[in-house]
């Protein structure tokens, strides 16, 4: 390019910056994924908030009000909890399938604690991982930051004795965000959800929400 040509192609800085930034675009599939994610969440939210389409006569409403209310509350809680658990399971399953590069490679939970200083909790070993899933600390290969329902979380990876890769997630448990999930410290049984051909196990332990994703 000659000096004259370059001078001719020089743009005001503002326009050049606008052009440079506008070159970056989401692919159609990335765009579709983000639109679908919003639709799923917002439509479901709207359905949950939609008013009932029919009217019950006043006298019947008066006699049945308490029953209807109790059933409605139970159903609403049940439905939203199911949907919320499924959202969490889908999110960790997607992280499992993406398998992005690890931030840290280690077999030590102490290294994990030192590295993941950005979390608002301290990563810890789960009693279930060694006892129930045969994934003791020694089979850990590392971890990376991730998020669950918008909250920063740790993803730890374990290579099982069968060489299968398992991803394990920890995040500070907040019932307002994650809903009511079984707490194994209270003797409750972890919840299993099958999504995308994977088995996701969710439970609360030591004040943390934990999730394990395994191939089936």
């Amino acid at each position: 390019m000659t000096r004259d040509n370059r001078t001719q192609s020089a743009l005001p800085l503002k326009e050049a910056v606008q052009n440079h930034i506008a070159e970056e675009k989401l692919t159609p599939s990335e765009l579709g994924g983000l639109l679908a994610m919003q639709r799923d969440v917002l439509e479901e939210h709207r359905e949950q908030k939609a008013p009932r389409a029919f009217r019950v006569p006043g006298w019947l409403l008066a006699t049945a009000a308490s029953t209807v209310l109790a059933v409605s509350v139970f159903m609403w809680q049940h439905t939203s909890q199911q949907a919320l658990s499924r959202d969490i399971a889908l999110e960790v399953a997607e992280n499992h399938l993406k398998l992005k590069p690890m931030d840290l490679e280690t077999q030590s939970m102490n290294d994990i604690r030192r590295y993941f200083s950005q979390l608002d909790f301290s990563p810890t070993n789960s009693g279930l991982m060694a006892d129930q899933f045969a994934l003791p600390e020694g089979l850990m290969i590392g971890g990376r930051y991730c998020s669950i329902q918008g909250i920063t979380a740790a993803q730890l990876r374990y290579k099982g004795q069968d060489s299968a890769l398992n991803t394990f997630y920890e995040v500070g448990y907040d019932e307002q965000v994650f809903g009511d999930l079984p707490n194994i410290d209270n003797g409750e049984t972890p919840k299993e959800i099958l999504v995308k051909g994977l088995k996701v196990t969710l439970w609360v332990e030591k004040g943390l929400l934990m999730a394990l994703v395994k191939d089936m």
């Binding site: 050049a16 994610m37 919003q38 639709r39 918008g150």
Partner: protein, 164 residues
């Protein structure tokens, strides 16, 4: 479409902002995805008074990126020298010209905050003073950045002249 749903144009714009900050395609997509997730969680919790979802999610992207880089200690900190005041009018920025290849060369050398300011100024249409106030960057620091930007533009132009 749900009134609070981000449309295609808004998502592309947010992705471009995430690219301005991270300069890495995968990181930018992750940043955008996690910010949109966080926005949806906020809506699900019943917060309905978000007047400008685009600005709200843009702020989420910036905060997340800053948190991440502070953690990795890569977020730039200002040196005392950089606080020196330069006699440069904001009008100078409007008068700078650059060709696309020069900008391409320069863009990768700019600091995060420089790119952030340029984005707010060139794409979002803020004045430089407004951008400084919004991004909480002292005006003196900003002027010193522009001073360096002009020097870099000149250096690139000079080195290309010599090559020719």
């Amino acid at each position: 479409m749900h009134p609070q749903m981000l449309d295609e144009g808004q998502l592309q714009s947010l992705f471009q902002y995430a690219m301005v900050l991270s300069q890495h395609r995968d990181d930018a997509y992750d940043l955008l995805q996690s910010a949109v997730e966080s926005y949806l969680v906020t809506l699900k919790r019943g917060k309905t008074d978000i007047d400008n979802p685009l600005a709200y999610v843009r702020t989420l992207i910036r905060n997340r990126y800053i948190d991440h880089y502070r953690h990795r200690e890569r977020w730039p900190s200002e040196s005392f020298e950089e606080l020196a005041v330069y006699d440069i009018s904001p009008v100078d920025l409007e008068q700078l010209t650059i060709d696309s290849q020069e900008l391409e060369d320069l863009w990768g050398q700019l600091s995060l905050e420089d790119r952030d300011i340029l984005y707010h100024w060139a794409v979002l249409g803020y004045s430089t003073d407004e951008a400084c106030a919004l991004l909480d960057i002292p005006r003196g620091t900003f002027l010193s950045r522009i001073h360096r930007l002009r020097k870099r533009c000149r250096m690139i132009a000079n080195s290309q002249s010599r090559q020719e």
